[in-house]
């Protein structure tokens, strides 16, 4: 090793030390601790604290509330990500086709994305108000739908709020990609006599392919761990119909104070998120090889 290499190596370790310290104490250490907690029966208010092995996980297999929360998580994730992607691509194409006013267009779109999710929850709580809510007024006053109180409507209502909030993220990523498509491609298509639909299907959408995969990955991971919106908007209700695994975990931890069991639920969310991330990254890699 040359002197310079030695210096650089030492500098690297020095510069990275604060990062390692911060992530080590506040992410990795709690990440290991939560595994340990999940192996215990711990209910502080009753003074219960003993090792339980895999009991908490075994209970999940027979816990109907858990299977319902898992189903809700998956339905929420699949429907909201699918809608976000469809609407996001449409919005990106529309803004890209504009000749003027793109900045205003992006501002209107990003407004929804940039606000705290708690604000989104309050916005939609008001829109969904049974008598004075804008949504029911727009649908005609005859039937006052109870969006957040009806077990059949609550999950769609939460999905709608989530789509509203996060579609702009997909749209902005796609829009940025569209800007980067070389104009020659379109010119060549025009010379070949391709119509608008053919150009869209054969050039634009394939060029979006990769960024869409990335957007879907980010959105799926976010949707799987979503918490703020349902916690504030419905609190998981009515009758548990909007309770995701994350909300269930949070309530077990801080409302019924089952530290061990709640931690086991948290670990499930963690494993789910990491498994999906790993699967997507593999998919991305193979798609790069073939593309």
């Amino acid at each position: 090793m040359t002197r310079r290499e030695v210096v650089n190596r030492r500098r690297g370790v020095l510069l990275l030390a604060p990062t390692v310290l911060a992530l080590g104490t506040l992410t990795v250490y709690p990440g290991v601790w939560v595994l340990w907690l999940s192996l215990q029966h711990r209910i502080p208010i009753f003074g219960v604290s003993r090792f339980a092995g895999l009991d908490n996980y075994a209970f999940l297999a027979v816990d109907s509330r858990f299977s319902s929360a898992a189903a809700t998580t998956i339905i929420f994730t699949v429907t909201s990500v699918a809608l976000e992607v469809a609407l996001g691509v449409a919005a990106a194409l529309a803004i890209h086709a504009q000749r003027g006013g793109r900045r205003v267009a992006l501002s209107l779109l990003l407004l929804a994305w940039a606000m705290p999710a708690v604000v989104t929850a309050k916005l939609f709580e008001w829109l969904y108000h049974p008598t004075a809510g804008l949504l029911n007024v727009a649908l005609g006053g005859g039937h006052a739908l109870n969006w957040l109180g009806d077990p059949r409507l609550a999950l769609p209502a939460v999905v709608l709020a989530d789509v509203w909030r996060t579609m702009p993220f997909v749209a902005v990523l796609c829009y940025a990609r569209l800007l980067a498509i070389p104009a020659e491609l379109y010119e060549a298509a025009q010379v070949d006599g391709a119509g608008r639909l053919a150009t869209l299907v054969l050039i634009t959408l394939p060029m979006l392919g990769r960024i869409l995969l990335v957007a879907i990955l980010f959105r799926t991971l976010d949707a799987l761990r979503a918490f703020d919106l349902m916690f504030v908007l419905t609190g998981g209700g009515p009758a548990g119909t909007t309770e995701t695994i994350t909300v269930y975990a949070y309530r077990a931890l801080f409302q019924t104070l089952q530290l061990g069991f709640g931690s086991a639920l948290s670990v499930v969310v963690f494993v789910l998120v990491m498994a999906v991330a790993w699967a997507y990254l593999r998919l991305l890699r193979t798609s790069t090889v073939t593309a």
Binding site: R11, L15, R99, L106, L109, V137, L173, R225, F254, S266
Partner: protein, 273 residues
């Protein structure tokens, strides 16, 4: 003729996007609607506008304190994340490190880390260190949570700096502090702004940790105060609308005024691999 059609299409897209933002504008209108007309819709437009809800929120609620808490915590989080993240990102982008591949993988993986996974041990840790209900506690937790994305973004921006500039500086005998002061930071400025905005927004909007680790108005941030907004016998929709608007103010200002940096950061996070 064609030009006219074009303008019409542009106007239609803008109209569609404006109606997309209706939930926001409706809340804005509600925040100025007289109390007596709140539950009497239609008519859609109020007979007059009032500042009563804003007055109530500012004079008789914890919102001003929550705004101050959020502003302080988000600013300190941003500063700390950059102070730790810039050197870290530089090391990741430019220097040889032991176990670099594994380290990069760990950073990417921790951007996907669900907050719920660490909230229970962090709660015990905060309690043991007496950091519950303090600014410092939330700043530390927000910083560590934002750090992976901060480093990811910054490392991408640092790789865009021409390496010749740095080499010239080391030939001139600049030490590490000089290198950062005179070369890296100035050339990094736009990327630094983009990263800072995203970190600030993350901390401003964050709810799960803030809700769990705060107990009183001494440290409650604006999303927490809004979620817990008190209503005694009936829900104060007008006051909630006014409080929502105050909570959205910084994000809205960022979207309107600093859009270029925001979009740059968003796109960089997704494209760099």
């Amino acid at each position: 003729m064609r030009r006219g059609a074009r303008t019409l299409a542009d106007a239609l897209v803008l109209a569609a996007l404006a109606s997309y933002a209706i939930p926001f504008f409706w809340q804005l209108l509600t925040s100025f609607r007289p109390e007596a007309e709140l539950l009497r819709v239609p008519p859609l437009l109020p007979s007059q506008l009032t500042l009563a809800h804003y007055r109530a929120v500012i004079e008789r609620s914890v919102m001003p304190q929550a705004l101050a808490n959020s502003f302080g915590i988000a600013t300190l989080t941003t500063l700390l994340a950059l102070a730790v993240g810039v050197p870290g990102a530089y090391a990741v982008a430019r220097l040889p490190l032991p176990g670099k591949r594994l380290l990069l993988l760990a950073i990417v993986a921790s951007t996907a880390f669900p907050q719920i996974a660490t909230v229970s041990p962090l709660y015990l840790l905060m309690r043991a260190l007496d950091l519950r209900d303090t600014w410092s506690g939330l700043v530390l937790v927000h910083t560590s949570f934002a750090l992976p994305l901060t480093i990811w973004l910054l490392a991408g921006f640092i790789r865009e700096i021409p390496i010749e500039a740095e080499e010239a500086a080391s030939v001139d005998g600049a030490g590490l502090p000089g290198l950062f002061r005179w070369v890296v930071i100035p050339l990094l400025a736009p990327g630094l702004a983009a990263t800072a905005l995203l970190t600030f927004l993350f901390s401003w909007n964050e709810f799960l940790f803030a809700y769990t680790f705060t107990v009183s108005e001494a440290s409650r941030t604006i999303p927490v105060a809004l979620a817990l907004f008190p209503g005694v016998f009936e829900v104060p929709w007008g006051d909630i609308a006014a409080a929502s608007m105050l909570a959205s103010l910084p994000p809205v200002l960022i979207v309107v005024g600093l859009q270029r940096f925001l979009v740059r950061g968003l796109v960089a996070g997704a494209v760099k691999e």
